[in-house]
């Protein structure tokens, strides 16, 4: 049995230690933001934040992240609410600025990869609130285990959304 802390909630998980985190998130914890794209850490569809860093849940054995803070797409609104000290009532109706920007810019096509794109954007903007175009491209291409891949080709829309999210975050809401 492994204890995982996901989106601020502790879970006792009845799964073998070597089970990749993705299958536990999706099948045991019903957290469906991360998607199975390749199972090889080559695409980013399964990304989560672990201690604030973008990681690939499809290749991470659960036993190795037992003591760490795991955040999935579902946990982004609460993460933002906490960072901004929003009231519980406000937090309920608030999406993370990255999610807001993804909607405003109509970024997804099929949307299957966009979980990873939003996780990567959150990681980037938390460390660099005003990234340049080159820094955005670097973040989505070389900063992780592999580039974050989008088969629908939404990269332009992702760049637009990252820049828009930076603006929303700078305003604080």
């Amino acid at each position: 049995m492994v204890t995982l802390t996901v989106n601020g909630v502790r879970h006792e998980v009845q799964a073998p230690d070597d089970t990749p985190l993705l299958y536990v998130l999706r099948n045991d914890l019903q957290l469906i933001g991360p998607q199975f794209g390749c199972g090889l850490a080559q695409c980013g569809a399964c990304a989560v934040l672990i201690d604030g860093k973008e990681r690939r849940s499809c290749v991470i054995p659960i036993v190795t992240v037992a003591d760490q803070e795991i955040i999935t797409l579902e946990g982004l609104p609460a993460r933002w609410a906490k960072q901004k000290g929003l009231s519980a009532e406000e937090a309920k109706s608030t999406l993370h600025p990255v999610q807001q920007a993804w909607i405003e810019e109509q970024t997804p096509q099929c949307g299957f990869c966009q979980n990873g794109m939003m996780i990567k954007a959150t990681e980037l903007l938390e460390s660099n609130p005003h990234p340049t175009l080159a820094q955005i491209k670097e973040a989505f291409t070389t900063s992780g285990l592999s580039p974050n891949l989008c088969r629908c080709g939404t990269y332009v829309a992702i760049i637009d959304a990252v820049q828009h999210a930076a603006t929303i975050m700078a305003k604080g809401r």
């Binding site: 199975f36 390749c38 891949l149 088969r151 332009v156």
Partner: protein, 784 residues
């Protein structure tokens, strides 16, 4: 009647927000039923209803108007990221009914038991008249008739605004109008529900004049994006049924191997796992996903297959196609624009171009491998939960496989990764396998393909080559043009699990006359150069490579992919046009304008010229070079007409001769679809298509040996990263005088390749006539 509260049992997670994305305020979902005299009588409508859960002749099967004046629409087309059911369809219906966009609160898409018309996720805008528009137009007329009766005002004195019908100082809302009412209307339909094209609404109802549009033309947001981004959408990947088991399929060792013996399962390591064998289909089924994956690996490693080496392999592919493939059994298709007398004009040519162009196999490569959940119940009814471009066609294929009728099969459609055409004929790969495994174990089964399965056992976009012969006259105009296109059958809709299990499927592609699964290669690229006096376009077709040699009748199975057939024909045509311009010593863009009589074709060319900063001059540029380690710059142009939309593209590139690496620096595209329904959605669709086009042009090539496909992941089959994309500029030409709207979710992907190849010629003076333009191929060309 279906209601929005219907959902499959025990699907965890949020509510099915795509079906109810705006709350209906608690209003009862009470559609109005419609009875009475028919617009159309006869067998067509009757036949069409046999397989339907919803009667397509009833307007309420398409559009429900609720007592609170909110509206529900239904379409058999599933969304694959284009967003049309949630944006364009709502806009089109809103304008036809004269209601606000927001009044259409619910869109039901894809589910076979809750939608009336079937068909695939392609051609959403139906060349200006999608089914849903006609359904709305019929409904509008029925509402006017009812209003006239209720208000005692003649129909011609009535007008409608925001769902309120007014005339002679009286008014009534749609909601009040339909309460407890029966309208007299039957919607005429024809077609075969479970065929690739589904049902089509017939007749000619009056449509709203373009000048009255108030909703079409605005950038309404796609509601499903909000629920996906907020992790509130239920994807196909999320469906879990009570008692459901996980499964993986151990696919054969080669594309022609048959099973010798299935691997033994180590029961001490995998106590809860079962191996299911049906013919050459080997499935591994277990309660947890991780046990399934590990057990499948173990079974795969000890499963024995026959050897098979019946493919030509990449190195011999074009030689095989040219010299060994059977191009004679399928009749040659002649393009309907063919005219004049080409042969004497070629003989009398002042200058001549004679060349062959090659385009590789490509994968659809969805970002998530295919998956499906199937539940075969003890009474023989089958429920499938999946992401499929054509749920009704899938339903027909599953019924055929099980030797039953489609009314025993229900397909529940959910969002998933883009398929780009792969499942538009009804299967993506895992659905039939899930059904067979569920049937075998008596429980719901979820089959998930792994990345390697998806690369190696799915269909691919067809390989092709084309021969061009082109004559220029003394004035530098094209005097004659002949193009012969060669392509294996591009639509194999046989479910692979059924094939492996030896169960009934439609036939493999063969010579026959009924359309899409035939080996006949039709002319798919509408001719746009009316100024060419002598023209022949020929399509030559054949069987899929390895199809006949494979003991499984498999080989390299093909399937239509974005801009199917047309990409294979437009690339050679457009690159040849650029070469002809160079031969004539004139600018390639002006050369196209000079040969195109159609105003809209000229319009997109001029728009892309102005937006890209095109410098008018002949190619290659005066300082073109084919050696050195310094990047050289050049530009090329391409033109296409597809589904009522004109497209022109300019690519500006930098190529480094010593490495052969091409970088697209700027991509400009001009689009004239007639009326632009939703500018923001169209722009995003075009940007995505542009990136995929650059991928097709520079990266994508299916690699295979004599036994099968050798690529198994994203490293071996690369697609572009964010760093690979150029500045992309999209110019939308709203052209209301066309009076209709053309398609916009495909075509952008086809335009890059000929423009980049022309840009390579511009910068180096050398022509590469094969796709993709990988660095090694470019390097070899420049050294030659």
């Amino acid at each position: 009647m279906a209601t929005t509260s219907e959902k499959p049992p025990n699907v965890f997670g949020p509510t099915l927000s795509r079906r109810q994305f705006v709350k209906t305020g608690g209003a009862l979902v009470v559609g109005f039923s419609l009875v009475g005299p028919k617009f159309l009588k006869g067998d067509a409508a009757k036949t069409a209803t046999l397989k339907n859960s919803l009667d397509p002749t009833l307007p309420s099967s398409w559009i429900e108007i609720h007592p609170d004046s909110t509206v529900l629409i239904r379409t058999g087309k599933s969304d694959f990221g284009q967003g049309s059911p949630f944006t364009a369809y709502r806009q089109i219906v809103a304008d036809e009914l004269s209601v606000p966009f927001e009044a259409i609160t619910t869109v039901v898409a894809g589910d076979t038991d809750r939608t009336p018309d079937g068909s695939g996720a392609f051609d959403f805008l139906g060349r200006g008249t999608p089914n849903i528009r006609k359904a709305a137009a019929y409904t509008y007329q029925a509402l006017l008739d009812l209003s006239s009766e209720r208000l005692g005002v003649s129909k011609d004195k009535l007008s409608v605004k925001d769902g309120i019908v007014s005339g002679d100082g009286k008014s009534i809302s749609y909601g009040d109008l339909v309460k407890n009412q029966q309208l007299k209307l039957t919607i005429p339909v024809k077609g075969d529900l479970t065929s690739i094209f589904g049902l089509t609404i017939e007749g000619d109802p009056p449509m709203k004049p373009v000048s009255d549009y108030t909703v079409i033309g605005k950038s309404f947001k796609n509601s499903i994006i909000s629920s996906k981004v907020a992790a509130k959408e239920t994807w196909a990947t999320d469906v879990r049924l009570p008692g459901m088991l996980h499964a993986r399929v151990v696919h054969p060792k080669t594309l022609g191997s048959t099973l010798v013996s299935a691997g033994q399962l180590d029961k001490t390591k995998f106590p809860n796992t079962r191996v299911v064998v049906k013919g050459n289909l080997v499935g591994v089924v277990a309660p947890t996903e991780w046990e399934t994956i590990q057990a499948a690996d173990q079974v795969a490693s000890s499963t024995k297959w026959t050897e098979w080496r019946g493919l030509p392999g990449n190195a011999r592919l074009y030689q095989h196609l040219r010299e060994e493939a059977d191009w004679t059994s399928a009749p040659v298709e002649k393009g309907k624009e063919s005219k004049g007398d080409v042969a004497p004009a070629l003989t009398a040519a002042h200058k001549k171009l004679s060349a062959t162009y090659q385009l590789s196999y490509m994968k659809h490569a969805p970002i998530g491998p295919t998956m499906a959940v199937a539940d075969v119940k003890s009474d023989g009814t089958v429920h499938i939960y999946t992401h499929n471009q054509n749920p009704q066609a899938l339903r027909g294929e599953i019924a055929m496989m099980l030797r039953t009728t489609p009314d025993h099969v229900v397909v529940h459609a959910y969002p998933g990764p883009g398929h780009y055409g792969r499942s538009n004929g009804g299967n993506a790969g895992a659905e039939d396998e899930a059904v067979l495994l569920s049937q075998a174990v008596g429980k719901p089964v979820r089959v998930q393909w792994m990345r390697a399965d998806d690369m190696q056992w799915s269909t691919q976009s067809s390989v092709s080559f084309s021969d061009v012969q082109l004559a220029l006259d003394e004035k530098g105009k094209i005097a004659a043009y002949q193009i012969d296109h060669y392509m294996p059958a591009m639509q194999d809709d046989r479910p692979i699990g059924a094939v492996l299990a030896g169960l009934p499927t439609m036939s493999a592609p063969q010579v026959h006359s009924d359309g899409v699964t035939s080996t006949v290669n039709g002319i798919e690229d509408p001719w746009v150069y009316a100024g060419v006096p002598n023209l022949i376009e020929n399509g030559h077709g054949t069987f899929q490579v390895g199809q006949k040699a494979s003991p499984l009748a498999v080989g390299l199975r093909d399937h239509s992919m974005r801009t199917p057939g047309q990409f294979q024909q437009n690339y050679p045509r457009e690159l040849a046009m650029s070469e002809a311009a160079a031969l004539a010593g004139v600018d390639a863009l002006e050369f196209r304008i000079d040969h195109a009589n159609e105003e809209r074709a000229i319009g997109v060319l001029k728009a892309v010229r102005d937006a890209s900063g095109w410098d008018t001059r002949p190619s290659p540029r005066s300082d073109a070079a084919s050696t050195g380690a310094t990047p050289l710059r050049g530009r090329g142009v391409s033109l296409m007409l597809r589904s009522g939309t004109y497209w022109a593209c300019v690519c500006q590139i930098a190529v480094t001769p010593s490495t052969g690496v091409i970088v697209v620096e700027k991509y400009t595209i001009a689009v004239d679809p007639g009326i632009v329904v939703n500018p923001m959605q169209l722009k995003r669709n075009v940007e995505g298509g542009a990136v995929m086009g650059i991928s097709h042009a520079l990266l994508e090539e299916v690699m295979f040996d004599e036994s099968g496909i050798t690529q198994d992941d994203w490293n071996s089959y690369p697609i572009p990263t964010m760093s690979d994309i150029p500045e992309i500029k999209v110019v939308l030409l709203d052209n209301p005088k066309v009076g209709s709207y053309g398609g916009g979710s495909e075509a952008a992907n086809a335009l890059a390749a000929p423009a980049i190849a022309a840009a390579l010629h511009d910068s180096t003076g050398k022509i590469i006539r094969r796709l993709p333009m990988k660095p090694a191929y470019v390097q070899a060309l420049l050294k030659a």
